[in-house]
Symmetry: D2
Subunit: 222 residues, 4 copies
Amino acid sequence: MAIKQAIVAQALPLIKAGMVVGFGGGTTVGELVRQAANHVNDITVVTPSPTTRQLATVLGYTVISPAYCDRIDIAFDGCDQLDHHGNALKSGGGIHTAEKIIASLADEYWLLTVKDRLVDQFDPQTPLVLEVLPTAFALVMQTVSDLGGQATVRTAANRDGFTLSDQGNLLIDCHFPTYEHLSALNQELVATAGVVETSYFDRLVTNAILGDADHQQVTTLF
Amino acid sequence: MAIKQAIVAQALPLIKAGMVVGFGGGTTVGELVRQAANHVNDITVVTPSPTTRQLATVLGYTVISPAYCDRIDIAFDGCDQLDHHGNALKSGGGIHTAEKIIASLADEYWLLTVKDRLVDQFDPQTPLVLEVLPTAFALVMQTVSDLGGQATVRTAANRDGFTLSDQGNLLIDCHFPTYEHLSALNQELVATAGVVETSYFDRLVTNAILGDADHQQVTTLF
Amino acid sequence: MAIKQAIVAQALPLIKAGMVVGFGGGTTVGELVRQAANHVNDITVVTPSPTTRQLATVLGYTVISPAYCDRIDIAFDGCDQLDHHGNALKSGGGIHTAEKIIASLADEYWLLTVKDRLVDQFDPQTPLVLEVLPTAFALVMQTVSDLGGQATVRTAANRDGFTLSDQGNLLIDCHFPTYEHLSALNQELVATAGVVETSYFDRLVTNAILGDADHQQVTTLF
Amino acid sequence: MAIKQAIVAQALPLIKAGMVVGFGGGTTVGELVRQAANHVNDITVVTPSPTTRQLATVLGYTVISPAYCDRIDIAFDGCDQLDHHGNALKSGGGIHTAEKIIASLADEYWLLTVKDRLVDQFDPQTPLVLEVLPTAFALVMQTVSDLGGQATVRTAANRDGFTLSDQGNLLIDCHFPTYEHLSALNQELVATAGVVETSYFDRLVTNAILGDADHQQVTTLF
């Protein structure tokens, strides 16, 4: 809890009046959104997260779509894992496509996370998530298997059918025995017909704020 | 368990070679699909349920889309509640829009369910579910409230955001104090901009097979 | 041309600082958007029209989605036909679903049009347009025919396939021999499974500004 | 006209009873679909083309979705341009995403076209078409421009707004001064967030039947 506050305290001064600011999902970014409401009041918000969108709307921010947004000054997000080269895996939330659009538009893309998530090599326990057009279901299941992975399509808990992304697509969790050649693997998956976007962020991260709960310390990376 | 088998045994002979057959969601219909595979092998299947679709595909049925299907000979489905006038509430599965399309195309629309679900008046504990275009979120929440109801949008358990229908729409569960004037209430909701379909089936049920687990009896209704 | 300017001149003072304003499609509303940019600069815009949206964005307006918009102070739109009871047919643009959502949210819904479009009874030459889920294609074609109408699905000029709405649905133009019982006809169509919205606006119009090019006069209706 | 018949005559014997066959769009493939109806009657059809789908349905074929189709024995399609390495540009129809899914699933992917479309190097007059998520509009327009191209979003002729793909996405035509490094260019575009699929088919073509109208000759390539 406390470490989140420290991370947020570090991020807050980066937000300046008049900026277009991207806020991703997760509780740390949520806390930043809440505190920013007291810190500056004339920013415009873009967000990939339906949860953050509702929060920002309630807090009175102007929320616009990235569709007509030519420039984002700074964007904040969480992640599952991050390496020292600015790569990240953002797998849980199922909104990685919109996150990547916003990361790509942003001048600075900051990850706010705990220090343990900074790794030398990505852990294959964290799945690579694919957003996939429904018509490509059979093709992608087969392709992942051919590439040595195990693919599981996310199934909805409170309806009959699959969990769908905001674009109406499937979310397929892929487990591979190793992430040693993740960049190449990712490229093959991206090139597969019907794969909209993977949850691997290839050198998109420009900065990070890492919290160390044990030592109550916050470090800035990059 | 046993009563489901008895319901399925009653339904099975209704399926004849060459028919286009609709199979909805749920375990009873699922069992019917499994047994039908041994009973007739040249039927064509349409289904509103992603789960049933996968099952039917694995069993080797030809599954077609209702989009180009001019006629369905017979369709089977489950329900939450059913009354004596052929009305039904089909709220849980979140696939009521596709179910209604298939029910409307079908010459005969049979509900397979347990006897307790046959009611004189619908129980307001079962929500009326609305499939709603995302852009109509604010309008529909407000309209339901104006009509005296409590609306809750379904939220996904395994992604950030809402549970979406196969058409990429929201599912909004509405609780009203009473269903006394359900048909009129339903009409007002259907007429609300952005409401795609409600889970109230207005005189669409042509037949029902009701199982009574206590007396191990199966009755046919209508 | 000149009459459009006169209509716009009448509409302009209705827009006040701080308002949430809906702007529909069409050239008259487009001209209003352009002039409003000089008239007030702190309004927030919602729009059903991709064309107007681009224009408003270029002009520097803040454009928000109706999804999280609880209230629209005033909305302006065009129409194909309008009667004396506040009913309208809005058929050409294919964006009637979003227009209806915005009309329903708006405290005042103003139509800006030429006087000839005010009719005693709607002319069946103007089609009733249905936005329809792709899976309901066969059902709706059949239903319209059963109701005595002729249905034609809009086909894209610059791709293989159908013209799709912003929600990815079909647009089906329906011609009926008469619109004598349009309200009842409309209700039957709305109740058809898979019909998202019709282009008939049932008593949604609160005001209108009508231009008479021959007499260079502008009248306010209602 | 005559040359199309000759192409079709060459393709017809490749279709054998019991096969799952992919049929793309265009008039040549359409003619093949028509003639195949007399040639074999127990094939199952998958198609990326709404036009071909309607035709195949009317002709009585069983049409299934590629979503649950593990294997396609053979697929036929047209193209805008084709080179000697099995690469193709398929830009006009706006259904290249579904075409690519089917091409990827197919054991054999045959292009049926006229000889002039076989080129040594692709002609930049034929645009590279991107299917793009609506939320990525600004990002992709900017990215294409950064890569030296000119991007134009397809606009609907018979509605207010953009031409949308069957997945509800934008179609963006890109003109580049040269296609000298098309494969690399294509990879950069595919890697752009929100680009679903490009119209460049990278070594997906396994065979081609080329008609030469001048010499009334048909050649098989590969």
